[in-house]
Protein backbone atom coordinates (compact mmCIF):
# COMPACT_ATOMS: atom_id res chain seq x y z
CA UNK A 1 0.00 0.00 0.00
CA UNK A 2 1.29 3.44 -0.90
CA UNK A 3 0.58 6.49 1.26
CA UNK A 4 2.26 9.71 2.34
CA UNK A 5 5.41 10.05 4.43
CA UNK A 6 4.81 11.95 7.68
CA UNK A 7 8.02 11.04 9.48
CA UNK A 8 10.92 9.08 7.94
CA UNK A 9 12.31 5.66 8.92
CA UNK A 10 11.65 1.94 8.55
CA UNK A 11 10.10 -0.61 10.90
CA UNK A 12 8.69 -4.12 10.97
CA UNK A 13 6.42 -5.50 13.66
CA UNK A 14 3.07 -6.71 14.88
CA UNK A 15 0.11 -4.45 14.20
CA UNK A 16 -2.22 -3.21 16.92
CA UNK A 17 -5.28 -1.70 15.27
CA UNK A 18 -7.84 0.75 16.65
CA UNK A 19 -10.93 1.51 14.60
CA UNK A 20 -11.45 4.59 16.79
CA UNK A 21 -9.32 7.74 16.92
CA UNK A 22 -6.62 8.00 19.58
CA UNK A 23 -6.02 11.03 21.79
CA UNK A 24 -2.54 10.54 23.24
CA UNK A 25 -2.98 13.06 26.08
CA UNK A 26 -5.07 11.22 28.65
CA UNK A 27 -5.35 8.33 26.22
CA UNK A 28 -1.97 6.62 26.50
CA UNK A 29 0.32 6.53 29.55
CA UNK A 30 3.71 7.93 28.49
CA UNK A 31 5.50 5.85 31.15
CA UNK A 32 4.09 2.46 30.17
CA UNK A 33 2.67 2.73 26.65
CA UNK A 34 -0.66 1.39 27.92
CA UNK A 35 -3.95 2.79 26.59
CA UNK A 36 -5.79 4.36 29.54
CA UNK A 37 -8.78 6.06 27.91
CA UNK A 38 -11.93 4.62 29.50
CA UNK A 39 -14.11 2.78 27.02
CA UNK A 40 -11.53 2.94 24.23
CA UNK A 41 -11.38 -0.28 22.16
CA UNK A 42 -7.67 -0.60 23.05
CA UNK A 43 -8.10 0.21 26.78
CA UNK A 44 -5.55 -1.76 28.81
CA UNK A 45 -3.51 -2.79 25.74
CA UNK A 46 0.13 -1.80 25.31
CA UNK A 47 1.39 -0.09 22.14
CA UNK A 48 5.10 -0.50 22.92
CA UNK A 49 7.15 -1.93 20.01
CA UNK A 50 3.99 -2.47 17.97
CA UNK A 51 2.98 -0.94 14.67
CA UNK A 52 0.18 1.30 15.92
CA UNK A 53 -2.66 1.68 13.42
CA UNK A 54 -5.58 4.11 13.87
CA UNK A 55 -7.68 6.40 11.67
CA UNK A 56 -6.66 9.80 13.06
CA UNK A 57 -5.66 11.68 16.19
CA UNK A 58 -8.12 13.48 18.42
CA UNK A 59 -8.29 15.55 21.58
CA UNK A 60 -5.68 17.61 23.34
CA UNK A 61 -2.80 19.23 21.55
CA UNK A 62 -0.45 18.13 24.35
CA UNK A 63 -0.52 14.76 22.61
CA UNK A 64 2.69 15.64 20.74
CA UNK A 65 4.69 15.66 23.99
CA UNK A 66 3.12 12.36 25.02
CA UNK A 67 4.39 10.79 21.79
CA UNK A 68 7.83 12.35 22.39
CA UNK A 69 7.65 11.07 26.00
CA UNK A 70 6.77 7.51 24.89
CA UNK A 71 9.94 7.49 22.77
CA UNK A 72 12.19 9.00 25.48
CA UNK A 73 10.83 6.47 27.98
CA UNK A 74 11.50 3.58 25.61
CA UNK A 75 7.86 2.52 25.36
CA UNK A 76 6.93 3.99 21.97
CA UNK A 77 5.36 2.08 19.10
CA UNK A 78 7.83 1.09 16.35
CA UNK A 79 5.81 2.98 13.75
CA UNK A 80 2.43 4.64 13.28
CA UNK A 81 0.02 4.16 10.38
CA UNK A 82 -3.01 6.44 9.93
CA UNK A 83 -5.80 7.05 7.53
CA UNK A 84 -5.19 10.78 8.07
CA UNK A 85 -2.46 12.12 10.37
CA UNK A 86 -3.42 15.43 11.94
CA UNK A 87 -0.89 17.97 13.24
CA UNK A 88 -0.71 16.74 16.83
CA UNK A 89 0.42 13.27 15.85
CA UNK A 90 2.60 14.62 13.02
CA UNK A 91 4.51 16.96 15.36
CA UNK A 92 4.92 14.19 17.91
CA UNK A 93 6.32 11.61 15.50
CA UNK A 94 8.66 14.12 13.81
CA UNK A 95 10.13 15.23 17.16
CA UNK A 96 10.31 11.68 18.46
CA UNK A 97 11.68 10.22 15.21
CA UNK A 98 8.98 7.56 14.96
CA UNK A 99 8.34 6.42 11.35
CA UNK A 100 4.82 7.39 10.29
CA UNK A 101 2.80 6.99 7.09
CA UNK A 102 -0.76 8.10 6.37
CA UNK A 103 -3.31 7.92 3.53
CA UNK A 104 -3.38 4.14 4.04
CA UNK A 105 -6.50 1.98 3.77
CA UNK A 106 -6.25 0.77 7.36
CA UNK A 107 -9.31 -1.49 7.00
CA UNK A 108 -6.96 -3.99 5.40
CA UNK A 109 -4.80 -4.31 8.51
CA UNK A 110 -5.84 -6.43 11.50
CA UNK A 111 -4.38 -6.65 14.99
CA UNK A 112 -1.70 -9.34 15.00
CA UNK A 113 -0.73 -8.94 11.34
CA UNK A 114 2.99 -8.55 10.71
CA UNK A 115 3.52 -5.27 8.89
CA UNK A 116 6.52 -3.54 7.33
CA UNK A 117 6.56 0.22 7.17
CA UNK A 118 8.99 2.06 4.89
CA UNK A 119 8.13 5.65 5.60
CA UNK A 120 10.96 6.93 3.39
CA UNK A 121 9.09 5.50 0.40
CA UNK A 122 5.65 5.98 2.02
CA UNK A 123 4.81 2.28 1.73
CA UNK A 124 3.11 -0.19 4.07
CA UNK A 125 3.10 -3.96 3.37
CA UNK A 126 1.52 -6.96 5.04
CA UNK A 127 4.02 -9.80 5.40
Amino acid sequence: MKGRMISPGKAKGEAIVSKESIGFYGGIDAKTGIVIEKGHPLEGKCVTDKILVFPCGKGSTVGSYVIYGLKKNGVAPKAIINKETETIVATGVILAGIPCVDHIDIEQINTGDIVTVDADHATVDLV
Binding site: K38, C56, G59, Y68, G69, K72, E86, T87, I94, L95
Partner: protein, 394 residues
Protein backbone atom coordinates in the same frame (compact mmCIF):
# COMPACT_ATOMS: atom_id res chain seq x y z
CA UNK B 1 7.39 25.14 -0.32
CA UNK B 2 8.72 28.57 -1.23
CA UNK B 3 11.19 29.92 1.32
CA UNK B 4 12.63 33.42 1.44
CA UNK B 5 16.41 33.92 1.52
CA UNK B 6 16.18 34.69 5.21
CA UNK B 7 14.27 31.47 5.82
CA UNK B 8 16.82 29.46 3.83
CA UNK B 9 19.49 30.88 6.12
CA UNK B 10 17.61 29.67 9.20
CA UNK B 11 17.50 26.17 7.69
CA UNK B 12 21.22 26.36 6.94
CA UNK B 13 21.84 26.94 10.63
CA UNK B 14 23.02 30.53 10.34
CA UNK B 15 20.69 31.61 13.17
CA UNK B 16 21.79 28.83 15.49
CA UNK B 17 21.00 25.27 16.28
CA UNK B 18 17.65 25.78 18.02
CA UNK B 19 16.10 27.89 15.28
CA UNK B 20 17.33 25.44 12.66
CA UNK B 21 15.69 22.53 14.50
CA UNK B 22 12.46 24.44 15.13
CA UNK B 23 12.24 25.76 11.59
CA UNK B 24 12.85 22.26 10.21
CA UNK B 25 9.82 21.05 12.17
CA UNK B 26 7.72 23.84 10.65
CA UNK B 27 8.91 23.22 7.08
CA UNK B 28 8.31 19.49 7.40
CA UNK B 29 4.77 20.10 8.66
CA UNK B 30 4.33 22.57 5.80
CA UNK B 31 5.53 20.00 3.26
CA UNK B 32 3.21 17.30 4.65
CA UNK B 33 0.15 19.52 4.58
CA UNK B 34 0.87 21.19 1.24
CA UNK B 35 1.79 24.70 2.41
CA UNK B 36 3.00 27.01 -0.37
CA UNK B 37 4.98 29.29 1.95
CA UNK B 38 5.50 30.51 5.50
CA UNK B 39 3.32 33.32 6.82
CA UNK B 40 4.01 35.82 9.62
CA UNK B 41 1.83 35.41 12.71
CA UNK B 42 0.43 37.89 15.21
CA UNK B 43 0.57 35.82 18.37
CA UNK B 44 1.13 32.36 19.81
CA UNK B 45 -0.32 30.30 22.61
CA UNK B 46 1.83 27.36 23.68
CA UNK B 47 0.28 24.23 25.20
CA UNK B 48 2.18 21.57 27.09
CA UNK B 49 2.90 23.60 30.21
CA UNK B 50 1.83 21.37 33.10
CA UNK B 51 4.52 19.10 34.49
CA UNK B 52 1.85 16.46 34.70
CA UNK B 53 1.25 16.68 30.94
CA UNK B 54 4.80 16.86 29.62
CA UNK B 55 6.72 15.08 32.37
CA UNK B 56 10.51 14.90 32.40
CA UNK B 57 10.88 14.48 28.61
CA UNK B 58 9.02 17.72 27.89
CA UNK B 59 10.72 19.60 30.73
CA UNK B 60 14.18 18.64 29.50
CA UNK B 61 13.22 19.53 25.94
CA UNK B 62 12.15 23.04 27.03
CA UNK B 63 15.18 23.61 29.29
CA UNK B 64 17.45 22.59 26.46
CA UNK B 65 15.92 25.19 24.12
CA UNK B 66 15.90 27.91 26.79
CA UNK B 67 19.54 27.28 27.71
CA UNK B 68 20.60 28.06 24.15
CA UNK B 69 19.25 31.59 24.37
CA UNK B 70 16.44 31.35 21.81
CA UNK B 71 13.67 33.93 22.33
CA UNK B 72 10.16 34.32 20.90
CA UNK B 73 9.45 36.78 18.09
CA UNK B 74 5.77 37.53 18.82
CA UNK B 75 3.42 37.92 21.82
CA UNK B 76 3.31 34.44 23.32
CA UNK B 77 1.09 33.18 26.14
CA UNK B 78 0.98 29.82 27.89
CA UNK B 79 -1.65 27.18 28.51
CA UNK B 80 -2.55 26.36 32.15
CA UNK B 81 0.20 25.06 34.39
CA UNK B 82 -0.23 22.16 36.80
CA UNK B 83 -0.81 24.38 39.83
CA UNK B 84 -1.64 27.89 41.01
CA UNK B 85 1.75 29.52 40.51
CA UNK B 86 1.38 31.83 43.51
CA UNK B 87 -0.87 30.07 46.03
CA UNK B 88 0.13 26.46 45.38
CA UNK B 89 1.18 25.79 48.96
CA UNK B 90 -2.01 27.20 50.45
CA UNK B 91 -4.22 25.15 48.13
CA UNK B 92 -2.20 22.01 48.80
CA UNK B 93 -0.27 21.17 45.64
CA UNK B 94 2.53 18.67 46.32
CA UNK B 95 6.07 20.05 46.82
CA UNK B 96 7.97 17.86 44.38
CA UNK B 97 5.41 18.60 41.68
CA UNK B 98 5.77 22.34 42.34
CA UNK B 99 9.56 22.19 42.00
CA UNK B 100 9.30 20.69 38.52
CA UNK B 101 6.48 23.03 37.51
CA UNK B 102 8.58 26.05 38.46
CA UNK B 103 11.49 24.69 36.37
CA UNK B 104 9.17 24.66 33.35
CA UNK B 105 7.96 28.22 33.99
CA UNK B 106 11.56 29.41 34.32
CA UNK B 107 12.45 27.86 30.95
CA UNK B 108 9.49 29.57 29.26
CA UNK B 109 10.31 32.91 30.87
CA UNK B 110 13.88 32.67 29.62
CA UNK B 111 12.48 32.38 26.10
CA UNK B 112 10.61 35.67 26.54
CA UNK B 113 7.21 34.00 26.82
CA UNK B 114 4.64 35.80 28.98
CA UNK B 115 4.27 33.37 31.86
CA UNK B 116 0.57 33.78 32.29
CA UNK B 117 -1.05 30.41 32.09
CA UNK B 118 -4.55 30.23 30.68
CA UNK B 119 -6.69 28.44 28.14
CA UNK B 120 -8.56 31.74 27.60
CA UNK B 121 -5.76 34.08 26.43
CA UNK B 122 -8.42 36.11 24.62
CA UNK B 123 -9.83 37.13 28.03
CA UNK B 124 -6.44 37.83 29.55
CA UNK B 125 -4.64 40.20 27.19
CA UNK B 126 -3.88 38.21 24.04
CA UNK B 127 -6.76 38.98 21.70
CA UNK B 128 -6.32 38.41 17.96
CA UNK B 129 -8.44 40.23 15.39
CA UNK B 130 -10.73 38.85 12.70
CA UNK B 131 -8.66 37.12 9.96
CA UNK B 132 -5.38 37.51 11.83
CA UNK B 133 -3.02 34.55 11.39
CA UNK B 134 -1.95 33.10 14.72
CA UNK B 135 -0.49 29.83 15.99
CA UNK B 136 -2.37 28.69 19.06
CA UNK B 137 -2.44 25.27 20.56
CA UNK B 138 -4.81 24.66 23.45
CA UNK B 139 -7.72 23.00 21.70
CA UNK B 140 -10.52 25.15 23.18
CA UNK B 141 -8.57 28.38 22.60
CA UNK B 142 -8.00 27.29 19.00
CA UNK B 143 -11.70 26.65 18.59
CA UNK B 144 -12.70 29.98 20.17
CA UNK B 145 -10.24 32.10 18.21
CA UNK B 146 -11.15 30.44 14.90
CA UNK B 147 -14.89 30.29 15.44
CA UNK B 148 -15.96 33.15 17.69
CA UNK B 149 -13.27 35.70 16.77
CA UNK B 150 -12.61 34.58 13.19
CA UNK B 151 -8.83 34.58 13.58
CA UNK B 152 -6.99 31.80 11.73
CA UNK B 153 -5.05 29.01 13.36
CA UNK B 154 -4.50 25.30 12.97
CA UNK B 155 -4.55 23.04 16.00
CA UNK B 156 -0.89 23.36 16.87
CA UNK B 157 0.87 20.80 19.01
CA UNK B 158 2.83 22.25 21.95
CA UNK B 159 6.17 21.96 20.13
CA UNK B 160 4.93 23.31 16.78
CA UNK B 161 3.42 26.35 18.53
CA UNK B 162 6.72 26.92 20.32
CA UNK B 163 8.54 26.61 17.00
CA UNK B 164 6.16 29.17 15.47
CA UNK B 165 6.78 31.56 18.38
CA UNK B 166 10.56 31.28 18.09
CA UNK B 167 10.49 31.69 14.29
CA UNK B 168 7.59 34.21 14.13
CA UNK B 169 6.04 32.17 11.31
CA UNK B 170 3.78 29.27 10.58
CA UNK B 171 3.27 27.22 7.41
CA UNK B 172 0.37 28.45 5.27
CA UNK B 173 -2.04 25.52 5.13
CA UNK B 174 -5.25 24.20 6.65
CA UNK B 175 -7.38 26.73 8.48
CA UNK B 176 -5.17 29.63 7.39
CA UNK B 177 -6.80 29.28 3.95
CA UNK B 178 -10.36 30.45 3.35
CA UNK B 179 -11.32 27.44 1.23
CA UNK B 180 -10.61 25.14 4.18
CA UNK B 181 -12.87 27.08 6.56
CA UNK B 182 -16.07 26.01 4.83
CA UNK B 183 -18.46 23.87 6.89
CA UNK B 184 -18.58 20.13 6.16
CA UNK B 185 -21.58 19.07 8.25
CA UNK B 186 -24.82 20.77 9.33
CA UNK B 187 -26.02 20.38 12.93
CA UNK B 188 -29.71 21.06 13.46
CA UNK B 189 -30.28 21.73 17.16
CA UNK B 190 -33.77 21.13 18.53
CA UNK B 191 -33.06 21.19 22.27
CA UNK B 192 -33.23 23.65 25.17
CA UNK B 193 -29.87 25.20 25.89
CA UNK B 194 -30.31 27.08 29.15
CA UNK B 195 -27.12 26.52 31.11
CA UNK B 196 -23.51 26.74 29.98
CA UNK B 197 -23.31 23.04 30.81
CA UNK B 198 -26.01 22.37 28.19
CA UNK B 199 -23.65 23.79 25.58
CA UNK B 200 -20.93 21.50 26.90
CA UNK B 201 -23.24 18.52 26.55
CA UNK B 202 -24.18 19.56 23.02
CA UNK B 203 -20.51 20.02 22.12
CA UNK B 204 -19.51 16.64 23.51
CA UNK B 205 -22.30 14.88 21.62
CA UNK B 206 -21.49 16.62 18.32
CA UNK B 207 -17.70 16.27 18.59
CA UNK B 208 -18.05 12.53 19.17
CA UNK B 209 -19.95 12.19 15.90
CA UNK B 210 -18.23 14.66 13.58
CA UNK B 211 -14.61 14.07 14.71
CA UNK B 212 -12.53 16.67 12.79
CA UNK B 213 -15.25 18.06 10.54
CA UNK B 214 -16.37 21.71 10.52
CA UNK B 215 -19.92 21.94 11.90
CA UNK B 216 -22.42 24.60 10.88
CA UNK B 217 -25.02 24.95 13.63
CA UNK B 218 -28.57 26.02 13.04
CA UNK B 219 -31.21 26.34 15.73
CA UNK B 220 -29.06 27.99 18.41
CA UNK B 221 -31.00 31.20 19.01
CA UNK B 222 -28.77 32.84 21.58
CA UNK B 223 -25.44 32.12 23.18
CA UNK B 224 -22.96 34.35 25.00
CA UNK B 225 -19.19 33.95 24.73
CA UNK B 226 -19.09 31.76 27.86
CA UNK B 227 -21.50 29.33 26.25
CA UNK B 228 -19.67 29.33 22.92
CA UNK B 229 -16.45 28.72 24.85
CA UNK B 230 -18.05 25.67 26.49
CA UNK B 231 -19.45 24.39 23.18
CA UNK B 232 -16.14 24.63 21.33
CA UNK B 233 -14.13 23.17 24.21
CA UNK B 234 -16.27 20.04 24.41
CA UNK B 235 -16.23 19.49 20.62
CA UNK B 236 -12.45 19.78 20.59
CA UNK B 237 -12.17 17.22 23.40
CA UNK B 238 -14.56 14.48 22.26
CA UNK B 239 -13.59 15.13 18.63
CA UNK B 240 -10.96 17.28 16.95
CA UNK B 241 -13.16 20.20 15.94
CA UNK B 242 -10.99 23.30 15.45
CA UNK B 243 -13.60 25.51 13.80
CA UNK B 244 -17.39 25.74 13.88
CA UNK B 245 -19.94 28.23 12.67
CA UNK B 246 -23.25 29.18 14.28
CA UNK B 247 -25.92 30.72 12.07
CA UNK B 248 -26.52 34.32 13.13
CA UNK B 249 -23.88 34.30 15.88
CA UNK B 250 -20.33 33.71 14.65
CA UNK B 251 -18.52 36.08 12.25
CA UNK B 252 -17.91 33.75 9.30
CA UNK B 253 -21.34 32.08 9.38
CA UNK B 254 -22.82 34.44 6.80
CA UNK B 255 -19.78 34.18 4.53
CA UNK B 256 -19.40 30.40 4.12
CA UNK B 257 -21.17 28.01 1.72
CA UNK B 258 -23.83 25.89 3.42
CA UNK B 259 -25.60 24.20 0.50
CA UNK B 260 -25.84 20.40 0.33
CA UNK B 261 -24.32 19.68 3.73
CA UNK B 262 -25.01 16.35 5.37
CA UNK B 263 -27.41 17.13 8.29
CA UNK B 264 -27.25 15.74 11.82
CA UNK B 265 -30.20 16.32 14.18
CA UNK B 266 -29.62 16.91 17.87
CA UNK B 267 -32.73 16.38 20.00
CA UNK B 268 -33.44 17.01 23.67
CA UNK B 269 -33.01 13.31 24.42
CA UNK B 270 -29.47 13.39 22.96
CA UNK B 271 -28.53 16.15 25.42
CA UNK B 272 -30.18 14.33 28.33
CA UNK B 273 -28.41 11.09 27.43
CA UNK B 274 -25.08 12.90 27.21
CA UNK B 275 -25.46 14.12 30.80
CA UNK B 276 -26.09 10.52 31.89
CA UNK B 277 -23.27 9.10 29.80
CA UNK B 278 -20.69 11.55 31.18
CA UNK B 279 -21.76 11.08 34.82
CA UNK B 280 -19.96 7.98 36.07
CA UNK B 281 -20.08 8.87 39.77
CA UNK B 282 -22.22 10.20 42.60
CA UNK B 283 -21.56 12.61 45.49
CA UNK B 284 -18.47 14.56 44.38
CA UNK B 285 -15.50 15.02 46.79
CA UNK B 286 -14.88 18.34 45.08
CA UNK B 287 -16.65 20.58 42.58
CA UNK B 288 -14.38 22.22 40.01
CA UNK B 289 -15.69 24.93 37.71
CA UNK B 290 -13.84 26.90 35.08
CA UNK B 291 -13.03 24.55 32.21
CA UNK B 292 -12.16 26.42 30.06
CA UNK B 293 -11.00 29.10 32.52
CA UNK B 294 -13.91 31.02 34.02
CA UNK B 295 -14.73 34.45 32.66
CA UNK B 296 -15.44 37.28 35.07
CA UNK B 297 -19.17 36.80 34.38
CA UNK B 298 -18.94 33.13 35.36
CA UNK B 299 -17.09 34.04 38.58
CA UNK B 300 -19.81 36.62 39.33
CA UNK B 301 -22.54 33.98 38.85
CA UNK B 302 -20.91 31.62 41.34
CA UNK B 303 -20.24 34.46 43.76
CA UNK B 304 -23.89 35.54 43.68
CA UNK B 305 -24.97 31.97 44.27
CA UNK B 306 -22.55 31.35 47.17
CA UNK B 307 -23.07 34.60 49.06
CA UNK B 308 -23.71 33.83 52.74
CA UNK B 309 -23.74 30.04 52.17
CA UNK B 310 -21.46 27.32 53.49
CA UNK B 311 -20.10 24.46 51.36
CA UNK B 312 -19.65 20.96 52.76
CA UNK B 313 -16.87 20.01 50.38
CA UNK B 314 -14.15 21.92 48.47
CA UNK B 315 -15.01 23.96 45.41
CA UNK B 316 -12.52 25.40 42.95
CA UNK B 317 -13.13 27.98 40.27
CA UNK B 318 -10.25 27.81 37.83
CA UNK B 319 -9.40 30.98 35.99
CA UNK B 320 -6.60 33.14 34.64
CA UNK B 321 -4.47 35.32 36.93
CA UNK B 322 -6.03 38.42 35.31
CA UNK B 323 -9.62 37.43 36.19
CA UNK B 324 -8.46 36.49 39.69
CA UNK B 325 -6.99 39.99 40.18
CA UNK B 326 -10.36 41.56 39.43
CA UNK B 327 -12.19 39.01 41.58
CA UNK B 328 -9.86 39.92 44.47
CA UNK B 329 -10.47 43.62 43.97
CA UNK B 330 -14.24 43.18 43.78
CA UNK B 331 -14.36 41.04 46.92
CA UNK B 332 -15.62 37.97 45.04
CA UNK B 333 -12.64 35.95 46.23
CA UNK B 334 -13.48 36.72 49.88
CA UNK B 335 -17.13 35.69 49.42
CA UNK B 336 -16.12 32.43 47.77
CA UNK B 337 -13.47 31.68 50.39
CA UNK B 338 -15.92 32.41 53.22
CA UNK B 339 -18.26 29.82 51.71
CA UNK B 340 -15.38 27.34 51.70
CA UNK B 341 -14.34 27.58 48.07
CA UNK B 342 -11.22 28.79 46.28
CA UNK B 343 -10.47 30.74 43.15
CA UNK B 344 -7.54 28.86 41.67
CA UNK B 345 -5.52 30.68 39.02
CA UNK B 346 -3.03 29.52 36.35
CA UNK B 347 -4.21 25.90 36.38
CA UNK B 348 -7.22 23.64 35.96
CA UNK B 349 -8.63 20.31 37.06
CA UNK B 350 -7.43 18.47 33.97
CA UNK B 351 -3.75 19.41 34.16
CA UNK B 352 -3.33 19.53 37.95
CA UNK B 353 -2.61 16.38 39.96
CA UNK B 354 -6.02 16.19 41.71
CA UNK B 355 -5.87 12.38 41.85
CA UNK B 356 -2.83 12.75 44.13
CA UNK B 357 -4.67 15.21 46.37
CA UNK B 358 -7.17 12.66 47.65
CA UNK B 359 -10.07 13.38 45.30
CA UNK B 360 -11.87 10.43 43.70
CA UNK B 361 -15.09 11.96 42.38
CA UNK B 362 -15.25 15.40 40.81
CA UNK B 363 -18.31 17.46 39.95
CA UNK B 364 -17.94 19.53 36.76
CA UNK B 365 -20.16 21.68 34.55
CA UNK B 366 -17.86 21.26 31.56
CA UNK B 367 -18.24 18.71 28.77
CA UNK B 368 -14.51 18.96 28.17
CA UNK B 369 -13.58 18.29 31.80
CA UNK B 370 -16.08 15.41 31.95
CA UNK B 371 -14.35 13.96 28.90
CA UNK B 372 -10.80 14.10 30.31
CA UNK B 373 -11.11 13.54 34.06
CA UNK B 374 -11.72 9.76 33.98
CA UNK B 375 -8.64 9.04 31.83
CA UNK B 376 -6.22 11.66 32.97
CA UNK B 377 -7.11 12.18 36.63
CA UNK B 378 -8.65 8.77 37.39
CA UNK B 379 -11.81 10.51 38.56
CA UNK B 380 -15.41 9.45 38.65
CA UNK B 381 -17.38 12.36 37.27
CA UNK B 382 -20.66 14.09 38.06
CA UNK B 383 -21.55 16.26 35.08
CA UNK B 384 -24.32 18.80 35.77
CA UNK B 385 -24.94 22.53 35.63
CA UNK B 386 -23.29 24.86 38.15
CA UNK B 387 -26.39 25.44 40.29
CA UNK B 388 -27.14 21.73 40.63
CA UNK B 389 -23.54 20.93 41.56
CA UNK B 390 -23.24 23.70 44.13
CA UNK B 391 -26.70 23.14 45.64
CA UNK B 392 -25.80 19.52 46.33
CA UNK B 393 -22.85 20.72 48.45
CA UNK B 394 -24.76 23.14 50.71
Amino acid sequence: MYLTQEEEKILDGEKGDVLERMFRLLTRLGDIYGADKMIPIGSVQVAGVSYKSIGDPGTEFLEDIASQGATVQVLTFLNPAGMDLENWQKIGFPNDFATNQLRIMEAFKKMGIVVTSTCTPYLAGNLPRFREHIAWSESSAVSFSNSVIGARTNREGGPSALAAALCGRTPNYGLHLWENRQPTVKIKVAAHLDFTADFGALGWYVGKQVKNKIPYFIGIQEANTDQLKALGAAMAASGAVALYHVEGLTPEADLVKTKGLEPIDVLQKDINETYEKLSSGKNPDIVILGCPHASLREIQQVTDFLKGKKLKKPLWICTSRMMKEVADRMGYTTIIEKAGGNIVADTCMVVSPIEKMGFKTTGVNSGKAANYLPGFCKQEVVFANMKKLVEAQL
